[in-house]
């Protein structure tokens, strides 16, 4: 018989890194970046600091594995810093986390990700993470290399030294890993950074990708999201095994106390109801450590059979429609957009909030007949792989987007130059896998996302309908000028009539077709009225002036270098009359001036500072 051996957690993950997002060289780069940025943002939010993050990614050589490059990933934040004694634990030990099981909407949850990144660096480049940290009280920063001791699942800090750092506090982490870089597309670095920028309006991001210039995306909100206090788990979300394990945290506590203090929504009345549903009354006073498996089963079943209040929704946080509206404009030049933040609700006994931002961009080279670009988020972290099985994708596909003026092949994502950003926030998001790439599609959650999408779609359709009406008016005006003269001319020839009849007929024709175009104008005005009513409602809801809600242009693309951003500004200035038409054409000439004036892009001050990162 073979010998049974026991492995450490680190050993397990070192052999199964594909389960936590390191299944390919391409994913390895993205996951490493993602874990480092998530940690930086979480740390800043925990200490009430407005995050300013620098990201630099470059190729520094050839990777040790086949078909890979050696990629350097540097992430630097202005967070509170990590105590030097904790460095090894944070970067080199699995399941060492300040957030595990807390029931909060933080990005990180278990304390696996960054240690996995260190392991990947160590496995592919024989060198763990190079970390520099400085907390508020420190005069000098501490720098060193953290490796994972895989056998014992402990972190080791090597080459520790004190160095000067002109930052008051923060962390800088550097990984050299085997990987490959993809800039665009679903799994692209730019897509990740755009997503992070979108759902973190308070983030000030500087990044330099490969040979590109440094790009600065300024924050559009000065408010640091307050992470709501965690709530106790709801008993209906538990399975029997989990229920028993949970009880072990409470030692010799009596069952009634365990039920009341270990879970949310269990009151004295609930205890009575449990008894009615079959919980032996005598067990309530017994210590949980003394309960047998049979007893636990009885307790568990009676709890599950009893109706309880749904859990509180106070533990979820939202980005908010106003911040989302500002933030989406950091992604590029926008024709129009629609945002929707649903009220927190309960899905599968877990508090959830869904937020949606739909926007049509003019400068992202998105094709009319290609599916919309989809940005998915779970707890404000972009999800970039395996979209087909995700609750968000299912919900989008279940909506009939044709009702809102978009093209949609049957059962697929709609088509067009739109970005659909959907964020699901919950302290208990159920992922399909450990690498957190796909949200499990429960019926209730899909329905909740679907509702948010439909509400956002309705708002969007007002813009699209207005465009259709504009195009209709334009077409009608064109018809009058193009076909009218031909009609009269040929009739005059067939009837062999003279110029006087011709003139009279032309006048009559103009009069008739003028009436028709007036009708089209009236129809357009009606569409415009409906759209402005929607904008007013939105502005009122957000407590802003109406003008500020009428944003038609965008600030700047964070992904563009400084020069190209300047050209965008010029375009915005020049195109004050241009706006999209039904056929997505930009036509300055044919647009009636009255219509054009309505859709002037509201210019916003553009911060044009090129960040020169001191090296």
């Amino acid at each position: 018989m073979s010998k049974i051996t026991k492995s450490s957690t680190a050993e397990y993950f070192a052999k199964n890194l594909q389960q936590v997002g390191f299944s390919s060289p391409l994913k390895a780069v993205l996951t490493t970046l993602k874990e480092a940025v998530d940690n930086a943002l979480d740390a800043c939010e925990a200490e009430n600091i407005l995050p300013e993050i620098y990201v630099e990614i470059k190729k520094v050589g050839t990777g040790s594995s086949k078909n890979t490059d050696l990629i350097k990933i540097i992430v630097e934040d202005n967070g509170p810093g990590i105590e030097p004694d904790d460095l090894a634990k944070v970067f080199g030990e699995y399941l060492a986390s300040s957030k595990f099981g807390k029931g909060q909407c933080s990005r990180g949850q278990q304390g696996i990700g960054i240690s996995a990144a260190t392991t990947w660096a160590q496995l592919t480049n024989a060198k763990g993470a190079i970390v520099k940290t400085k907390t508020k009280g420190m005069r000098k920063a501490i720098q060193g290399q953290v490796d994972v001791d895989i056998k014992s699942n402990t972190g080791i800090l090597k080459n520790k030294e004190a160095v000067d750092w002109d930052k008051p506090h923060g962390v800088r982490v550097e990984f050299d890993i085997d990987g490959r870089i993809q800039m665009n597309g679903d799994g692209g670095l730019i897509t990740y950074l755009e997503g992070t920028v979108l759902v973190n309006p308070h983030l000030d991001l500087h990044h330099k990708l490969l040979d590109q210039e440094w790009v600065h995306v300024a924050r559009v909100s000065q408010t640091i999201p307050e992470i709501p206090e965690s709530t106790l788990p709801h008993p209906h979300t538990f399975k029997l095994g989990e229920f028993i394990t949970h009880s072990t945290l409470y030692g010799k506590t009596s069952l009634d106390k365990f039920l009341k203090t270990g879970f949310s929504r269990v009151s004295d009345q609930s205890l009575k109801d449990f008894v009615v549903k079959g919980l032996p009354k005598g067990l309530l006073a017994k210590s949980v450590s003394g309960l047998s498996e049979v007893d636990f089963k009885k307790v568990f079943q009676s709890v599950q059979d009893t109706e309880l209040m749904p859990p509180s929704t106070k533990s979820v946080l939202t980005v908010g429609e106003e911040s989302l509206s500002k933030s989406i404009q950091r992604l590029g030049k926008i024709d129009f957009f629609s945002v929707m933040t649903r009220k927190p609700t309960i899905c599968d006994f877990k508090p959830v909030v869904v937020e949606v931002a739909l926007a049509r961009f003019v400068d992202r080279n998105l094709a009319l007949d290609e599916p919309v670009q989809l940005l998915r988020f779970a707890n404000r972290v972009p999800l970039q792989f395996d979209k087909s099985g995700c609750a968000i994708t299912w919900a989008i596909e279940s909506v009939n987007w044709k009702n809102y003026g978009l093209q949609q092949p049957k059962g697929s994502l709609p088509n067009g130059p739109y970005v659909f950003a959907i964020s699901v926030t919950s302290p208990f998001i159920k992922f399909k896998n450990a690498s957190k790439e796909t949200i499990d599609a429960s019926e209730e959650l899909v329905e909740e996302i679907r509702r948010a999408l439909m509400q956002a779609g309705q708002k969007l359709s007002r813009h699209i309908k207005k465009e259709f009406k504009e195009a209709d008016l334009e077409r009608k005006l064109a018809h009058i000028s193009q076909f009218g003269p031909i009609l009269v001319e040929v009739l005059v020839r067939i009837t062999k009539s003279g110029p006087e009849r011709r003139k009279k007929a032309e006048e009559g024709l103009r009069k008739l077709l003028g009436q028709d175009s007036e009708e089209a104008k009236a129809s357009l005005e009606e569409a415009e009225t409906k759209l402005s009513a929607q904008k007013s409602r939105q502005a009122k809801k957000e407590g802003r002036s109406e003008e500020s809600s009428e944003v038609q242009g965008a600030l700047q693309s964070p992904i563009q270098s400084e020069e190209s951003r300047e050209s965008v500004v010029t375009d915005a200035d020049e195109k004050t009359e241009a706006h999209s038409k039904g056929g997505q054409k930009i036509s300055k000439k044919l647009t009636p001036p009255r219509v054009a004036a309505k859709s002037l892009p509201t210019k916003k001050p553009i911060k044009k500072t090129t960040t020169k990162k001191a090296k």
């Binding site: 018809h479 009218g484 005059v492 006048e507």
Partner: protein, 387 residues
Amino acid sequence: MAKLIKIRELDLDIPKEAQRIAERMLTDLEKSRRPVLEAVKTSLDNSFYDPKVGYLTPGDKTVKTELNVSSVQKLARVVFMLEIILRNLDIGSVNTKRELYYICKGLIRSETKLRPLDFEGQDESDAIIDFIGDMLRVYREELNCFANDRGGQTYSQQLVVYETMPDGEKATIDLSSLGTSPFMPKNKPQSLKLKAKKKIDFCLVIESEGTAGTLHAMGFTKRNNCILMGAQGVPSNAVRGWCKLIEDELAVPMYFFGDLDAYTLQNIFRTLKAGSAASLIRNADFSAPDVKFLGVLPEDVKRYDLPHYNVKESDPVEARALKKAKDALENDPFFLDRKNKGLADILKWLLSEKIRCEQQSFFSVDARDPIIMEKLILEKIRNKSYV
């Protein structure tokens, strides 16, 4: 140039009527009134079928096109093409639909102000020509506009055709002298006269022109006193007019032989026998009401153990044909008429069984007999196995 032979007696003076319409339109415009053009509604809901008449005739419904910003393009195109047609009528010139399409294209593209009239494809100009015909209630041929010749390849050892040419000259075509080449009927049946050198027993119209050619090559017309014709799918005006002429002048029994499927029955056979809803105006001279459906009949499948297969409902073309067949049973006056119950029953059978059988399956009944199809067709005619 000799005057074109009339296709029928027509009381209407087309150029005068066209001028009257143009005059009315111009007067309306002068008075700021919206001109309206009215045409026969050419659809099934305006089609009537009387078995004594034998073809689909139009009802009272009309389509009115009133000038507005949406219809101004159509009206401009109508008067533009009407002018060209009137010129053709005036000088006695004829053109095919395709020629008219290219004539228009040339004129439109050479003059900037006409550009908005440009057609994206021939179907757009064809629709305008059809509208003019329906508006004046005249045949397209009476507007000196002919469709391209297609289908109707005819073989016979007994048939002689006398053709009056556009210049008045006469031509005599003895089909027995053409060898394996077929006679192609022209689009102007009014210019043809027929004579049978010897009694002709029947006329057989085969859906597939290739199969008609094969039967002829294997000696079908040598062994039988007949006219053998290939329809080449949905019968063109030429084929329909040609069949009508054979019926009128020779009074020989006519049989149609094609695939056993919904498309053949309702699109090909019905059009040959009773015309179509789209050509309500001219069905009288472009249909052969006495033609019988020889097969393939549902009973043939069993009797001859013919190879057949299931209709693929996932195939959009097949699915559409089935849906059309269902619609035809509910709305097509031809299939609703008691006289055509036998044909409607075949459609119902096709809908319930969802199978199809090709006309060429007759070749497979005895793979060693090269003239098996001929034998079976003759057997069916003898046994009156037709609908």
